[in-house]
Amino acid sequence: MSFAELGLAALGLYLAVLLVIAELARRARRNRSPADHFLAGRELGVFVLFLTLYATAYSGNSLLGYPGEAYRRGFSWIMATGFMLSIIVVFHALVPRLRPLALAHGFVTPGDWVRHRFGQEAGAQWLRFGVALLMTTALANFLFAQLKAMGEMAEQVTGGIVPYEAGVAVLAGVILAYETLGGMRAVAWTDAAQGILMMLGLGALLTWLLGAAGGLEALTLQILEVRPHAARVPETREAANWASTVLLLGLASVIYPQAIQRIYAARSGRALKRSLALMTFMPLTTTLVVTLIGLAAIPRLRGLDAVQADRVMPLLLEQWAALGPAYAYAGLAVFIGALAAIMSTADSVLLSLGSLVAEDLLGRPRRAEGTASLGKWIAAGVMLAMAVLAWVARDVTLWGLIELKMELLIQCVPAFLIAIHWPRLRASSTLVGLLVGTAIAVAGVALDVKRVGGIHMGVIGLAVNAAIATAGSLFPRRAAGAGAP
């Protein structure tokens, strides 16, 4: 049996297992309420919570985009380990305050916090809408990136037996099926299995790459032969971009709707903090590993262009598998692990999208069954739209998509991180800040000015956004009690 046929068989088996888990999760559900469907009845313990956080955080971007970016940029991509760590650091500013409020007031969506915090204040309704719109756009972008990554992976590893377009369609259908059947419970259980596979697979691939290169030092010397400038101290602009990327990813990632919903879904605060303490080591076991894998590709795969660089991981897997049957099986384990990581992120995004659009964007009341099923229909519609987009817009780099998403999402930071610490923050000034910050980020995209002096336009937008939100909140109100909820 060829590697391509083995890949096809492994893919089929894996998808069948996912559907079985989904059916088990459906049978385990307690009722048809949104809290049960979207938050698994708020009963995720340390182990499952940790693995679902892990599998959700490390996505197709990590598995395909980050090796591609390490291949393109060289050693300075060590910054990726730093920005993935910064997410767990920035959670300190959100989790201890948001979690108890979420339990006390029954939050299900990120918009529940905004509704609770700003109540009926002037501008609060538009602020909720603005936050929900930015989050929905960011999630749709994220879903698109995952579908593109799934299609690439399926085509590469099955040697084209499953073409890119069919891979996108079939895998999207399976995710939709198990998410609809089992909700957050199915997503968390499959995430747990997928997280374990991903860790094992990446470790095996890196061991092979380092072994074949003759160790880390030998690998570095090989890279220097191909790209002598790769080891030089980065230019000032690159250092500024490093700091900007740590800020961009650290601040924006903590307000991912799916991350916020996992804060809500934890069984207890104790389980949550232990999961986060474990999560803090994952950038060292995952991001650092994929960075080294991308670097190892520099001497092995010469001359790939920007878009082709996103295929570094599957290309390396092919090389590995060609060494013999044992390597082919190990390569398949990595393939399934990588695909698992991508699918686990896509399913979490899909789950959050349903609740976010139904409740926060369309303002549907939380009537148990009606809202949950509307959320499922919306999720299906968005999945279909993004699958079509993934078919027609294949030549986009994954890192380009990540930056775009984060630059929009980061504009929601004042409504969460400042609002949760500063009672004086007003909805109206937060809304104006959000609009101006978003306009700056969008203008950067429209004018193709991604960075100024290495600093992302989204980060510049956030600085202006936060300044407007805080300065506007310092002015006294025009009439006593006006707009106060």
Partner: protein
């Protein structure tokens, strides 16, 4: 609850019942400050741009410094999380809610 404990940080105040809680809150703050310092050191802004690097642990020296800092961040952050109280019920003044 003491004023110092109340000012100690998110989620800590209401849980504090004595000096141990205040000490843990202070340690947590110190760890978070240490994390900030490590991030500042991890980015080679203080090195001459374009300079050739020595190899340390098989990596260019500025990469090895960054990696060392990130290992430090992971360790400090894990301890900081274990010192953090994440209450399951709202505490006095929590959340900036109205």
């Amino acid at each position: 609850m003491t004023e110092r404990a109340r000012a100690a940080g998110p989620g800590r105040a209401a849980q504090s019942t004595g000096g141990g809680a205040v000490w843990r809150a202070r340690l947590r703050r110190a760890l978070l400050a240490g994390i900030g310092l490590l991030y500042a050191i991890s980015i080679p802004w203080y090195r001459t741009a374009g300079e050739d690097a020595e190899l340390v642990w098989g990596l260019p020296d500025w990469v090895a410094v960054a990696l060392g800092c990130y290992v430090g961040v992971a360790l400090l952050n894990a301890v900081a999380w274990l010192l953090t109280e994440v209450p399951d019920a709202p505490t006095e003044g929590s959340g900036g809610s109205r």
